[in-house]
């Protein structure tokens, strides 16, 4: 299977901005699915709402574009009714942690066998640049013109309070690593979360000192390091932490 067979090319040109990290997340998810022979016969995609929430609809399989914040609940119910299928959620940081924060907590706790790939661009892209729960403290956004006052949410920390968990962090620059993380997440029996640090060049990047997406990618390369066999990830460590 070729990864492009898993993308609805008839929907191109797509709706994302040039240089947006979402393309990388979608493409690399499709590559992993193709490599694992996962297609419309055995896999269902689910998204919430946001620029990232448009991803499921571009996969060439039954896709559910649910409501803002509700992708996880939707996915869990689908997995219950279609237990033989892989259910993959593709959504954004605002969707999954803000309006969907309560569902995140409870879905993770119930531990259904679903995979979540979060395009974490640390901003509300679709609604034009308000701070999200993952926006770093001090960052300019349209609703924090003097810098975001709050510390970001610690998803890795929250998941590590669960008796069983799978958390992976990668970036849109580290594509092979991202693929490995997504593949391992799909293989994990239970709630598997892949946090992909990603860019929103148009609405966020340009306002915080980056002229082009490539400059943000260079920053990811510089700032984030892949680590192996650790129990805890530092704030800029990339890798997988899990507990059976």
């Amino acid at each position: 299977m070729y990864y492009k067979d898993l993308i609805k090319m008839q929907r191109y040109p797509h709706s994302w901005c040039p240089g947006c990290g979402i393309g990388s997340v979608l493409k690399n998810t499709a590559k992993v699915l193709a490599g694992m022979n996962l297609d419309h016969t055995n896999t269902i995609a689910v998204s919430g709402i946001g620029c990232s929430g448009r991803m499921a609809g571009y996969l060439n399989m039954d896709a559910v574009h649910s409501l803002h914040g509700r992708a996880l609940t939707s996915a869990e119910a689908i997995k219950t009714v279609r237990p033989q299928h892989n259910v993959v959620v593709l959504s954004g940081d605002g969707d999954l942690f803000s309006i969907g924060g309560n569902h995140f907590l409870h879905t993770a706790r119930r531990d259904p066998d679903i995979t979540v790939v979060c395009n974490n661009n640390e901003i509300y892209g679709l609604t034009a640049g308000q701070y999200s729960p993952t926006t770093p403290k001090g960052t300019y956004t349209t609703t924090s013109p003097k810098g975001c006052k709050y510390e970001p949410i610690d998803i890795h920390g929250i998941l590590r309070t669960m008796p069983r968990y799978f958390y992976a962090r990668s970036t849109v620059w580290h594509v092979l690593h991202m693929q490995k993380c997504i593949q391992e997440a799909i293989q994990w029996k239970g709630f598997a979360f892949v946090d992909v640090v990603s860019d929103c060049i148009e609405i966020n990047g340009r306002h915080i000192g980056y002229k082009k997406a490539s400059e943000m990618f260079a920053m990811y390369k510089e700032k984030y390091k892949i680590v192996r066999d650790v129990e805890v990830l530092g704030p800029h460590d990339l890798g997988v932490v899990k507990k059976e």
């Binding site: 709402i49 039954d62 409501l67 609940t73 119910a77 009714v81």
Partner: protein, 351 residues
């Protein structure tokens, strides 16, 4: 054989009879028994799925999603939970997900009088959610009817490919009556028609999209065509269920009531004509017009301040008299004063 059956219980049995196999909910009076029954059922029966969700938002999303995944899915709640479910219900209309939302009313607004019955969410059942859609809602007045109408509700949902609201109230939910389920006439269950998730390359989206699921937000014709399609289907299905009860007496007065109020005013039905809508939405316009012809007085008695009365006025094009029963006490004694005021008759004289 007759067994003693409560309204909630009967609705749940009816849902099973209709083939329901997915329930998600959150505890709230006066429907919690249904949640409990569903939990027990899931323990006994592997192909029945149950989720006690973290809130009604999750429950409603789960129900619509389970329907897309192929289940016959339903939930049960009352006013406060129903309000939280509205966004998902709106989504359910757009993605054409047959589902049943059981809403047993209690006194509001807000927490109100949680253990006392009301009929205050009639308009919420009609258009509590956002956007253009066409509601279908039924409202029984006995446990036996909870059972039969449950099957009707699931069937209508499947035929119209949309959420159906099953209205109830605290009295009917907790009214226990001997019922012989075997003796009831039950329509055959309509099977699921749309192939479940995981069998195609479809896109189920809340966005204004074409029949392929491709967003067409810049094209008003696409959305308009969708509205016309679902409106037509809703009307066709509603026509199959023109459910009401009309008792004609030699009287210049027609009383209109439904749900538990129709049970409470039953003694008045010997003296006055009575109309009881069972299909609440779409409003039984033709049936009401016909029934209301020739009466000097048309009196709507309901446990809210004129919500259905307003719809009756709209349907028949004239004003009606209203007897609101507010605060959670639906009883004959409370009708005494208004009856004198509106019709100039003493309650004792008509009993």
């Amino acid at each position: 054989m007759k067994t003693l059956l409560g309204g909630n219980d009967a609705f749940f049995q009816g849902a099973l009879r209709a083939g329901a196999n997915y329930f998600a909910g959150y505890p709230i009076s006066p429907t919690t028994e249904i949640l409990t029954l569903a939990a027990e059922r899931a323990e006994e029966q592997q192909d029945f799925h149950f989720l006690q969700a973290e809130d009604e938002i999750a429950a409603a999303i789960a129900v619509v999603s389970a329907s897309l995944a192929g289940a016959k899915a339903f939930t049960a709640t009352s006013g406060p939970g129903f309000s939280l479910m509205q966004e998902a219900i709106s989504w359910g209309y757009r993605v054409e997900a047959p589902t049943v939302f059981f809403e047993s009313q209690r006194v509001g607004p807000s927490t109100g009088a949680p253990t006392f019955p009301a009929q205050e969410d009639i308009l919420q059942a009609m258009h509590g959610a956002h956007g253009t859609y066409y509601p279908l809602a039924f409202y029984p007045n006995s446990p036996a009817e909870c059972y039969t109408l449950a099957v009707t509700a699931f069937n209508a949902a499947e035929e119209a490919m949309q959420p159906v609201i099953f209205l109830c109230d605290g009295y009917v939910s907790h009214l226990y009556e001997p019922v012989d389920l075997e003796a009831l006439e039950i329509p055959p269950a309509v099977p699921r028609s749309r192939p479940p998730l995981g069998t195609g390359k479809r896109h189920f989206t809340g966005i204004a999209a074409d029949e392929e699921g491709i967003p067409r937000t810049g094209n008003p014709q696409v959305q308009e065509a969708w509205v016309r399609k679902v409106k037509k289907r809703n009307e066709e299905v509603a026509k199959r269920y023109p459910l009401y009860e009309y008792k004609e007496r030699d009287s210049d007065t027609l009383l209109i009531s439904y749900g538990s109020t129709s049970r409470v005013v039953a003694p008045l039905q010997e003296r006055f004509s009575h109309f009881r809508p069972i299909r609440i939405f779409p409003v039984l316009k033709e049936e009401l017009r016909k029934a209301c012809e020739g009466y000097e007085h048309i009196v709507v008695l309901e446990a809210n301040d004129g919500q259905y009365a307003m719809l009756v006025e709209h349907a028949i094009g004239r004003e009606v008299e209203k007897i609101p029963l507010l605060g959670g006490k639906i009883s004959l004694s409370r009708i005494k004063e208004p009856l004198k005021e509106v019709l100039g008759v003493e309650l004792e004289d008509v009993l």
